[in-house]
Amino acid sequence: MSLDATFLILAAISVAGSAAAMGLRNAVHCVLALTAGFAGIAGLYLYLGAQFVGFTQIMVYVGAVAILAVFAIMMTHHPGQAEEPFSRYWLWGAVIAAAVFLTLARAVRLAFEPAGSVLAVPPQAPDLTVQQIGEALMHRYVLPLEIIGLLLTAALIGAVIIAMDAKEDPAMEDAVE
């Protein structure tokens, strides 16, 4: 079985979006391209049969993380001050990334080399319902779920406290202390 057109189109969208997000000069354009890349990855999740993960990806990444990044860029933006977007050592970074990709790609090619040995016939797409995920989260994975809840609460409170400007408002300063 060869790669089909749906996979190739979604892969092209996600790669083009990600490459534009890392290559464009304007930071806001980068985040807009990033949403396209994340949406392509979400499409791949949906195509693989993981609907819940796909919609989670859209809500968390395309929705929340991208908007958070746009807000952060707007809050730290200096209009009229154009800076070189790439680091002085960008060539080294590009060379390292290319080397990592070539190494990984070669390892993957070698791992799949004996055709038909590794999962040559893909099984039928598993029929995964949200009910199954909910039951698994409530039974087998209930401890990780609680820990993730705790982590998210701590991260939320920590992010607010870190980002809060305590110096300008004395009342806030008392609240922090």
Binding site: M1, V15, L68, F86, S87, L119, D165
Partner: protein, 103 residues
């Protein structure tokens, strides 16, 4: 080509793009976005191996990627808060100019 191989190659490419962004960008926010891209590449691997693995009924890959997305969201929130806090001290998000420890 095996479909799983296509997904793993795509995920390596996304990882390399994220790594290139994290290593070459000057803007701290875009470096964080590069790290998010690398996490996404790992998630794609989880889902692809779940789909083409021997026991898809076990839901392991799906669970792993859900928890990984949650951790990545927490990381993005704290990371952006740290960037804003650092911006308040040095008035820039340019990593080449954030070169001293005392604010």
């Amino acid at each position: 080509m095996n479909p799983l191989e296509g997904y793993v190659l795509l995920s390596s490419l996304l990882f390399a793009i994220g790594l290139a962004g994290a290593l070459t960008r000057r803007n701290a926010i875009l470096v964080l976005i590069g790290i998010e891209l690398m996490l996404n590449a790992a998630n794609l691997n989880f889902i692809a191996f779940w789909r083409y693995g021997p026991r898809p009924a076990a839901l392991t890959g799906v669970m792993f990627s859900i928890f990984s997305i949650a951790v990545a969201a927490a990381e993005a929130a704290v990371g952006l808060a740290l960037i804003l806090a650092a911006y308040r001290h040095v008035r820039t998000t340019n990593l080449d100019r954030m070169n001293h420890l005392k604010g």
